[in-house]
């Protein structure tokens, strides 16, 4: 087996792939979130931003899309395989086991990940391809968003995804620095301020858009 195969086969190597792809996705999310907030600057500005991405720099957009696709696939496949391995490592459960320090975020990475995967598929069909959108327009991205967030079930589905995202980031950003061997030794390694701030800023920033649209704060 080649070196890459051995790396991917090892639990540590697979986790490093998860951490690295996770960091790529986090980087994208920060930029994506900031871009979305331009909705509050009005239809003209927002549609111009959309045209920039979908027309003027479409080659770059495709490079980013492919990078993200590869990242999500590797991240999710590694998550699935590690989960299977971890379950097999304890076939007989304890009659009583009391988690001492694991955060709710760390315990919900797997469920949250599945929700996020479904969300990503729906989200692309909703606003990128228009497959799941009732009145999709190739050029009217602002209108797409206004219509897209006009019903509560969809708004709530998005907000649920952002809830899981905040948990995923709260554990994931902190964990990724450790998985990738980057964190410095610390007196309290469980402390995670950067991850907390980023989780709130990213998930909160994204949530503003569906909330504001549904509550009629954007015109």
């Amino acid at each position: 087996m080649g070196r890459l195969g051995k790396f991917w086969d090892s639990s540590v190597g697979k986790k490093i792939v998860m951490g690295a792809t996770g960091v790529i996705l986090v980087g994208f999310l920060i930029i994506h979130m900031a871009g979305n907030l331009q909705l509050f600057l009005g239809a003209e500005r927002f549609n111009a931003y959309s045209k920039l991405l979908k027309h003027d720099i479409i080659e770059l957009t495709w490079i980013v899309r492919l990078t993200l696709l590869v990242s999500v696939v590797f991240h999710a496949v590694a998550a699935y395989q590690l989960t299977m391995r971890n379950k097999a490592a304890r076939p007989e459960p304890y009659a009583k086991r009391v988690p001492q320090v694991s955060t709710y975020a760390s315990q919900t990475m797997r469920y949250g990940g599945v929700y996020l995967l479904l969300f990503i598929v729906y989200h692309i069909g909703h606003f990128t391809t228009g497959t799941f959108h009732p009145a999709y327009s190739e050029v009217g991205t602002f209108g797409n968003v206004m219509v897209g967030f006009s019903t509560w079930p969809i708004v709530l589905f998005y907000l649920g995804a952002m809830g899981f995202l905040s948990l995923h980031l709260y554990h994931g950003i902190w964990a990724a620095f450790r998985t990738l061997g980057l964190a410095r030794p610390s007196g309290d390694p469980l402390k995670r301020q950067i991850a907390l701030v980023l989780a709130i800023v990213v998930a909160g920033g994204f949530s503003l858009v569906p909330l504001a649209v549904k509550l009629g704060l954007v015109h």
């Binding site: 070196r3 051995k6 790396f7 086969d9 090892s10 639990s11 540590v12 190597g13 697979k14 986790k15 490093i16 590690l82 391995r85 971890n86 379950k87 097999a88 490592a89 304890r90 076939p91 007989e92 459960p93 304890y94 009659a95 009583k96 086991r97 009391v98 988690p99 001492q100 320090v101 694991s102 760390s106 315990q107 990475m109 554990h171 902190w174 964990a175 450790r178 998985t179 990738l180 061997g181 980057l182 964190a183 030794p185 610390s186 390694p189 469980l190």
Partner: protein, 262 residues
């Protein structure tokens, strides 16, 4: 019954041998002195069992002073029980209250099969050590300590990691039954010392490979291992293990020597 003795109800995992079906059996533990260690409490219960012609509860122990790593059991859902940085043998019954129910179970992991009752086979740890947790260069008799300068920071990190007693509580407490903390402690211990440098990266690769072969789980960084560890080994050692593993995987090459090696 004398004053001050504790009356407890134990729920203990009983299993007559490897691969046998087991179950939780309830036992009363009466008139237990708060000064007893947890293992002395089990001894007392066992005396009662033997006197009444029953099979005593098998549990592992040796030094009874917190240094050998033999004695771990799950106590009320926590590895080595409720007290931080304390092995089961050093846990005292004053930690418990009269009337308490105490759940006592063996470490649970595919890699740690139950031998009997609370005793598990931790041979998987030995095989991880055999894969690389040593220094193979014969170093002769000890040199003068000052002839091999080691920075205080490195010495501290190496010594902190070297405190691992191989008890397996990290595996037991981990939701994934991962041996990452144990393996990382050994890799960190030797990786911070000059004697450990020549084999540092090969060691990381081989020990991680063996850890996987033993069917332990992977690390999700729950942090449970660090909390359970009676020696306070930090998950920072796992950061070190992963860093060494990355360097090792990037630089891995065939061993070329055909003869004369060693």
């Amino acid at each position: 019954m004398s004053a001050g003795g504790l009356n407890l109800t134990l729920h203990v995992w009983r299993q007559s041998g490897p691969n046998k079906a087991g179950k939780i059996v309830d036992y009363p533990a009466t008139n237990i002195s708060p000064e007893m260690s947890f293992l002395e409490m089990l001894d007392t219960v066992n005396e009662g069992l033997i006197t009444s012609g029953q099979e005593p509860i098998a549990f592992d122990h040796d030094c009874r002073e917190g240094i050998c790593g033999s004695c771990g059991v799950m106590i009320n859902g926590a590895a080595h029980g409720p007290m931080k940085q304390t092995t089961a043998c050093q846990l005292h019954m004053r930690t418990f209250n009269n009337g308490d129910e105490i759940w006592i179970e063996p470490w649970r992991a595919q890699a740690f099969p139950v031998i009997k009752d609370l005793v598990v086979d931790r041979g998987a740890f030995d095989r991880i050590i055999q894969a690389g947790g040593f220094i193979s260069a014969p170093t002769g008799s000890p040199q003068d300590a000052n002839s091999l300068p080691i920075s205080k920071l490195d010495a501290d990190e190496a010594m902190d990691a070297a405190a691992c007693i191989g008890c397996g509580a990290c595996v037991a407490a981990c939701p994934n039954a991962s041996a990452s903390l144990f393996t990382a402690a050994k890799i960190t211990h030797l990786g911070h010392l000059p004697q450990g440098q020549p084999e540092r990266y090969r060691r990381a690769l081989k020990m991680v490979t063996q850890m996987d072969l033993e069917s332990f789980g992977g690390c999700t960084l729950f942090g449970e291992c660090q909390e359970a560890c009676p020696k306070g080994i930090s998950i920072d050692t796992i950061v070190q293990m992963n860093r060494d593993y990355i360097v090792a995987a990037a630089n891995e090459r065939e061993e070329k020597a055909e003869m004369g090696a060693g």
